[in-house]
Symmetry: C2
Subunit: 218 residues, 2 copies
């Protein structure tokens, strides 16, 4: 466990927890480090989980099987990220399986130990509960924005809605976006070539200026 303390410390679930308290807290939460081989199923779709995971090393995929047995990868989990907290908290059946994409180590926490304060270290519990709420709420806010953007019907509208959010966020009509073209196309859920074309058009029409990941609304 010690080896992974730096990763664990960076996880937003433990924001505001001091180094010396972290180890004690992990004991209090009965946190366990578990190894998974490549291709191993960490959690299985359809089960109800009371556990929250934090990826310590390796790489995980959230995968769904449809009615006909086709597999689709919904997202990846990065090192230091929590996963499954939304399903643990909502007490819903997992709509996805979590599969190790390579040999991975996972810190597994029982949500009940997080939610129910114990006699040892209640002050930490309060902090963790608050952090967990913030993680859920932040994901929620991000989803909210993404749905607003992608619900637009045309590539142009999606792009402009996205750029608008960025302009508002930075409080500036000039900004750099954190995506390259392909990533932006994936986020907007459009074709990369169509996106490039639309950016060119908007430039020619004098609506935006752009170079690489720099954008300016005119």
């Amino acid at each position: 466990m010690k080896k992974y303390l730096p990763v664990i410390k960076k996880c937003p679930l433990f924001d505001g927890v001091s180094n010396e308290n972290l180890a004690r807290m992990l004991g209090c939460l009965k946190a366990k480090v578990v190894d998974f081989d490549k291709k191993y199923t960490v959690f299985r779709e359809g089960t109800v989980q009371k556990h929250v995971g934090i990826l310590l090393s390796g790489s995980l995929h959230l995968v769904r099987m449809d009615y006909y047995g086709n597999r689709s990868i919904l997202s990846g989990v990065e090192i230091g990220e929590t996963f499954l907290e939304e399903f643990a908290c909502s007490e819903a059946e997992l709509p996805v399986s979590v599969i190790a994409d390579e040999p991975s180590q996972v810190l597994i926490l029982d949500l009940r130990h997080i939610l129910h304060t114990c006699s040892n270290c209640c002050s930490f519990h309060q902090q963790i509960i608050f952090n967990l709420m913030k993680i859920l709420a932040t994901k929620n806010t991000a989803f909210y924005q993404k749905i607003d953007v992608t619900s637009k019907r045309s590539t142009r509208e999606k792009l402009l809605t996205y750029l608008n959010y960025q302009a508002k966020k930075t409080n500036n009509n000039e900004f750099n976006i954190p995506f390259d073209r392909q990533e932006l196309a994936d986020y907007l859920e459009v074709e990369r070539s169509g996106l490039s074309m639309e950016i060119s058009k908007l430039k020619n029409e004098g609506i935006i200026d752009s170079y690489k990941n720099y954008f300016k609304l005119l």
Copy 2:
């Protein structure tokens, strides 16, 4: 306040709270009922709110202004629903304004009173915190699914992904959906006419059977 107790009781934030405790609890949380005239801004975009709202009567819209001043309605709030809890918990600036669509009454709670347990009725706090987490997590799960559905590129794929979720959810290849055609089109973010056409095609191809809001995967 008394008048609205039935509405408040049905709000998922107060799940598991007994009738007699509810009133006491609302006092403990310093809950306030506030009236808003039609068109009045309940909360303003760009501000940071520590408040969670529950709609008691009337109707609210979540509205966003873009960079050019165009208004778009992102969603509506129904009676008994909580709103803004995701932004209060994430401590983010509101990306939307909340506008009264008609004269409305709103129960306003300070998130800090929810999160920080007091000496009076801590057992309730625990329950409310748990409920709030569940609300956030459930919204999250619903967003998750919606994005999975709408990220598909064609009307056919969106529809089939959605129907698959329903089949999995009901654990049955026959089910009724809670949407009429226009609502389904809006959820899938496609054109109603195109959706109707695709449903017809899928029927002709023997992939699904359907009548009104009844669907069957074959």
